[in-house]
């Protein structure tokens, strides 16, 4: 069933961000040499959650009701976070890049879909996308 309302879409994004944050915390434990990098990613994910929540609850457009703002298929953004036993840092970074790609797709599609209704939410989605692109560059250098 597709996600249509702002409420359910933001709940879904919160889940994605939290799942990814936990993944980064696990990576921090597994790869102490890059602990700070991964913990920073986890922290940022939770900050993005707050940022989006603030945009949703703080800015009124004609359709704060937001019941018709999205049409996202959750399966399109599903990602696995399991790493094989003894995975290298490079493999972990590849997995992280795959996770990031899914989350970024969700923000990108959501921004495009809600542009005409939710004003500040899509703007914040794009701000997060911009920041995440920098994260991709960092992840690509690992391993």
């Amino acid at each position: 069933m597709d996600l249509r309302t702002a409420s359910e879409t933001l709940s879904f994004l919160r889940e994605l961000e939290e799942k990814a944050a936990k993944f980064y915390e696990e990576l921090a434990e597994k790869f102490p040499g890059n602990k700070d990098d991964f913990l920073l990613c986890a922290k940022e994910n939770r900050k993005y959650n707050k940022q989006v929540q603030m945009a949703y609850q703080s800015v009124i457009s004609d359709a704060i009701e937001g019941g018709y703002a999205f049409s996202l298929e959750p399966d399109d953004y599903f990602f696995e976070t399991d790493l094989p036993e003894g995975a290298t840092l490079k493999e972990a970074a590849q997995k992280a890049l795959a996770v990031e790609e899914k989350i970024m797709n969700c923000y990108s599609d959501g921004a495009d879909q809600s542009d005409s209704l939710l004003a500040d939410v899509p703007r914040n989605f794009r701000m997060i996308l911009k920041k995440r692109k920098k994260r991709l560059e960092k992840l690509e250098t690992l391993g």
Binding site: S7, S58, I60, D62, I64, E65, Y68
Partner: protein, 497 residues
């Protein structure tokens, strides 16, 4: 999808709040029903004449001290109140959904809009500043100060149980007046929750009172000589026949906001994909129970291809609207508030069909209700075509999830239909032409005008305008106009010899 938690537990009694005390009404007690489950979720008293008199006395007694409280101090109470509203944001929103039936996104929007009015009122030290000019004649200075008047009555409707009293009450108390809020007895818990936070914020007794009830309370407010003014939001007949003349008879100030039958104009050059979600939320958001809801869609031009393709998309999107309990985050449209309102909407649809309209989408029998709730108060969205401008489904307020579609040749024809409507609350146009948008804005008679906006709801720092059958009075609620409404202008001229 799992339901969000219901905040109203058990079957609580919504009590009055008078002079800083919670008191159960001695009047008739009625049930408050959740329109989704049709279960009783609480009870409320229909207060008596004596009870409203006692609230007015408390407000009047509190007035003198309150008006002498510096405005900066008065606003500190409001700042604290605002923080409490923010802390309780989610619970306040869910209360609205549980007692009214609107979707959680809609309730959160309502909560936010209410809080914004408190925020604007927190700026009262600046907002209520007067004017001054020295040397209006040699050695003579003149200035204007704004002073509060006394107790005000704030009468709220059922469709926005949280937000609408906040269009008035924060401005009234920030300017130094006292208030008595009367919520709709169908949905008393949103204001009850607000008033609990008023108490927690520490407002002195008598400054902010709440009395539940119906006609007796309204009549008591209108007749009472100590009430200085009334703000009312409700139906046009009550506004026109009860509130406005009632205020006139006793010399009260009055802001009276009534019904609407808004018209949304579609130009062939509109961005179709961006327009359709805006139409959905305008026509079917809050199940159409909103004085800024779209009721009639006027499509301009004689291009049959455009019309057919546009209506196909509108119909398909409408047909797929998810109906159910608003505490399910996936639900897009909740029920109407009660059975009588549902019957009234059905009757109006029937009249439209008898007048010659045809059903493109029949929502009289609701579609699948997510969660399997009883269909007692549920309707599906209805679209009617072959509608003409003289039909009652265009000219009379329906207040339900319906869309009547009219085709016209020119923008001028569309504006003419808007202007001959008995209501002028929130007409809108969807176009990519600046010229057409400007012409519409310039020529249309409407208190609030939308350009590519489906629900033309002004922000708290702008007045909630409205004209003709949708409004009676001079000044409006919200923003600077509310400040003027709740204050008297006193002009002083000084000469010192």
């Amino acid at each position: 999808m799992a339901l969000l938690d219901e905040p109203i537990k058990g079957v609580p009694m919504a009590e009055n709040y008078i002079d800083g005390e919670w008191v159960e009404s001695k009047g008739e007690i009625i049930d408050v029903v959740n329109p989704v489950t049709y279960e009783t979720i609480g009870r409320v008293g229909i207060s008596t004449k004596e009870e409203i008199d006692s609230a007015v006395k408390a407000a009047d007694d509190a007035f003198d001290d309150w008006r002498r409280t510096p405005v900066v101090t008065r606003c500190r109470y409001l700042f604290r109140f605002r923080e409490l509203l923010e802390e309780n944001f989610e619970e306040l929103s869910r209360v609205q959904t549980q007692e009214h039936g609107k979707c959680i996104d809609e309730s959160r929007g309502e909560t936010r809009r209410g809080i914004e009015n408190v925020e604007v009122a927190c700026g009262m030290p600046t907002l209520m500043m007067g004017d001054s000019l020295e040397d209006i004649a040699s050695g003579i200075d003149e200035y204007l100060i704004r002073q509060p008047l006394g107790p005000f009555g704030v009468i709220g409707p059922f469709n926005f149980p949280f937000m609408i009293p906040l269009w008035s009450a924060p401005y009234a108390v920030a300017t130094g007046n006292t208030v008595i809020v009367k919520p709709s007895s169908e949905v008393p818990f949103s204001q009850t929750k607000i008033t609990e936070l008023v108490e927690e914020a520490g407002f002195p007794p008598g400054v902010w009172n709440m009395v539940h009830g119906g006609r007796t309370v309204v009549g008591g407010m209108l007749e009472h000589p100590d009430i200085q003014g009334i703000t009312f939001v409700g139906s046009t007949p009550v506004m026109r026949d009860v509130i406005y003349p009632g205020c006139g008879n006793t010399g009260k100030r009055c802001i009276a906001q009534g019904g609407a039958a808004n018209i949304l104009v579609i130009m062939p050059d509109c961005n179709v994909n961006a327009t359709i979600p805006g139409l959905m939320t305008s026509f079917f958001g809050n199940a159409g129970q909103r004085c800024l809801a779209g009721q009639t869609l006027v499509i301009v031009g004689d291009d049959n291809n455009f019309y057919n393709e546009f209506m196909e998309k509108v119909t398909e999107t409408t047909r797929n609207i998810r109906v159910g309990y608003g505490l399910d985050e996936s639900v897009q449209m909740g029920p109407v508030r009660d059975v009588k309102k549902k019957e009234s909407i059905l009757n109006k649809i029937e009249v439209g069909l008898k007048d010659g309209a045809t059903l493109r989408l029949d929502g009289r029998k609701p579609p699948e209700i997510i969660g399997g709730h009883p269909d007692t108060c549920f309707l599906g969205p209805t679209i009617m075509e072959n509608v003409s401008r003289e039909m009652s489904i265009v000219r009379e307020e329906i207040f339900g999830p319906t869309m009547g579609v009219i085709r016209v040749k020119t923008l001028e024809d569309a504006i003419e239909i808007c202007n001959e409507s008995p209501y002028h609350n929130g007409h809108a146009i969807f176009t990519s032409s600046g010229k057409a948008a400007r012409q519409f804005q310039y020529d249309v008679i409407s208190g609030n005008v939308g350009i590519n906006i489906g629900i033309v709801a002004p922000m708290a720092f702008f007045p909630f305008s409205g004209m003709a059958g949708s409004f009676m009075g001079v000044l409006h609620t919200q923003g600077k106009e509310a400040v003027r409404f709740f204050t008297e202008s006193k002009v002083c001229i000084h000469r010192w010899l």
